[in-house]
Each structure stands twice: as C-alpha cells, then as structure tokens.
Amino acid sequence: MYIVVIGGGRLGYYLAKALLDEDHEVVIVEKNADFCKIINDELGGVCIFGDGCETTTLAEIGTGRADMLIAVTGDDEDNLVACQVAKHKFSVPRTIARMRNPQNEAIFKKLGIDVTVSSTNVILEHIQQEVPTHSLTHLLTIRDRGLEIVEIKITPEAIAVGKRVRELSLPEGSRLTLVIPEKQKPRVPTSDTVLQDGDRVIAVTPPDAEEALRTALMGS
C-alpha cells in the first residue's frame, strides 16, 4: 500500500518505521527541516519537507494514488485539514487522524474522517487499567455499532457478589460475555452463573448504559 504520513515527530517517525518494515510504500511530510534531515538520515529518503495541508505539497508526492493518509502532527486542526484535503482534493480512500483533544471526535467524524485515534484516551485507558481501584475499564470500542467492550472487577463489597446473572438488573443492551474468576478458567456466563469476589467480568454495552451497568454489578 502507498501510505502518506503527515507529521514527522516521534509518532510519525515510529509509525513510518513500522509501516516500512511491513513493506508499505511510505512518504512522510514534515514542516521542520531539521526533523526531515534526521528522518532521511535514519530511514532513507522517505521524508519530504513541506506543509501537509497544502494541496501543492500533497500533489507533488502523488497523494492521488495513496491508499491511506495518516495525520499525526501535534495539532488537531492540522490533522483535520490534512485529512479533509486528502479526502476531497485527492480522493484518498482512507484517512486517519490523531486527536489531542478527545472532545474533537464528534466533529472529526461528522466531517468524514474515517478513523480517529485519541492519544489522550489511549493513554488514559492504559492508566485506568493499571489503577486497581477503578472498577470499570474500557477495552475496546466498536465504533460502527456504537458499542463498547468493558471490564469490571468484582470487589468484595459489590452487590453482584453471590448473585446469579439473572438476578442482576442489567441495563438494556448490556451483556455479560465472559467471566474470569481469580483462580479458575474463564467461562461464558449463563443466567445461572453466580458471580464471586475477584471475578473479572467482560461485558458489551452501549456507551450511555455504561454507568448503569457498573451500578448493576457494583452498587452505587
């Protein structure tokens, strides 16, 4: 695949390196001449000095035949514009934008950016996973269906302890899909499965029912 990467900072550099290792054709566009030089010294001439939001720069590197454009500069507005120019001027089939501010997800989606990656959210989720007191962790978002896969750790004081799944008042649309007990093998819960202290429950839920799901298992 031919992939254009906008932004040759740390993220752009490692991303390009990984893509090159997978034998993709990669061009990085970077505004800072010093960064360009470093990248070209280390990765071979893959970096073009220029503004990735400018039509002329994108035309020069043949963005019209690109299969994908990934914008990973540090500025949300630059990533948005680079993706919009790629999409509307060069008909690039797939555009991916990095977002600093997770709030921008709605506008990026509305404007047709195919995939958004919020570095802030990704890091937050990882931190949450490592913080034992946090009872609900996001594992995965299934964007096109508007669903989330979450993990809930059952603590001794949780109201679900000793209860069967069918006795829980789970919110509409939420499903418990896997129970991982502390010392036994994981199992797929049935309505008769009794939850225990220390169980880790993997559930599928619409994002707006997340809090209700947490309350149904943990109490308020």
């Binding site: 939001c53 039509t55 500025d75 507005e77 630059d78």
Partner: protein, 132 residues
C-alpha cells in the same frame, strides 16, 4: 444580532469595534489576553480568554445562542476547524472564516463553508491600483 469572533488581531478587534458600535452584541475570543488591548476603548462587548477550538470555550462565549461566528486567527487551519465546529456542532446560522491559502480557500468554499481569502482579494486590488 449576537456575534462571536475568534481571534483578536487587527482584523478581529476592528470588526468587533464596528459591530459593537452598530449595536450588535459581540463576544471576542483570544488565547492571549494582551491582544484585547487592540479593542477600541468604547467597546461594550465581552472579551474572553479562550481557545476557539475548545468546545467548552465556545460555549462560554455563547456560541449556542449566536447568530453569527467569525474566525479570524492567524492560522488557516484553526479558522477552518473552528468554523466547522460552529457550523456543524453548534449550528450557528452564519459562519464566516478567513483563509489565507487560496487553494485551501477554494476547497472549503466547495465544501460549503463561507470563506474570505485576503490573499486573492488583496492581490486583485493591488493589480487594479497598478493597472488603472
């Protein structure tokens, strides 16, 4: 009408002054408080420190009730993004943004954004002056 202006540079401050003296309710946003010194001393509107790309800051500026939104910061991309947030998220009826880069201006006009390109306009005016 109620107008929110993003960017208190020379143009933003001047526009704020003009609209204010016409009796409109003006709120002007800038990330740098010192830029408000450009506002005329008679300015009756609101000057707010905040980033117009931040939806919370836009709400504080009253974008939800605004009749018009104008983006005139120094950055084309910032203007374009803020204008699109105002138009598509907050559904402000009239949104205008400045884009210096003629190619980007052309693109966003075709995407339905109301844009003004100082580069093109000014070059044409200069040509007229020189050729007349």
């Amino acid at each position: 009408m109620k107008v929110v202006i993003m960017g208190c540079g020379r143009v933003g401050a001047r526009l704020a002054g003009l609209l204010d003296s016409d009796g409109h309710s003006v709120t002007i946003l800038d990330t740098d408080a010192t830029s408000f010194r450009r506002l005329p001393s008679t300015f009756q509107g609101t000057a707010l420190v905040g980033n117009g790309l931040d939806q919370e800051a836009l709400k504080r500026a009253g974008v939800e009730e605004a009749d018009a939104f104008v983006a005139v910061t120094q950055g084309d991309n910032r203007n374009v993004m803020a204008a699109q947030i105002a138009k598509h998220i907050f559904e402000v009826p009239k949104v205008v943004c400045r884009i210096y880069d003629p190619l980007r201006q052309e693109l966003y006009s075709t995407l339905g954004l109301e844009t003004l390109g100082p580069t093109t306009i000014f070059a044409q005016m200069l040509r007229e002056k020189l050729e007349s």
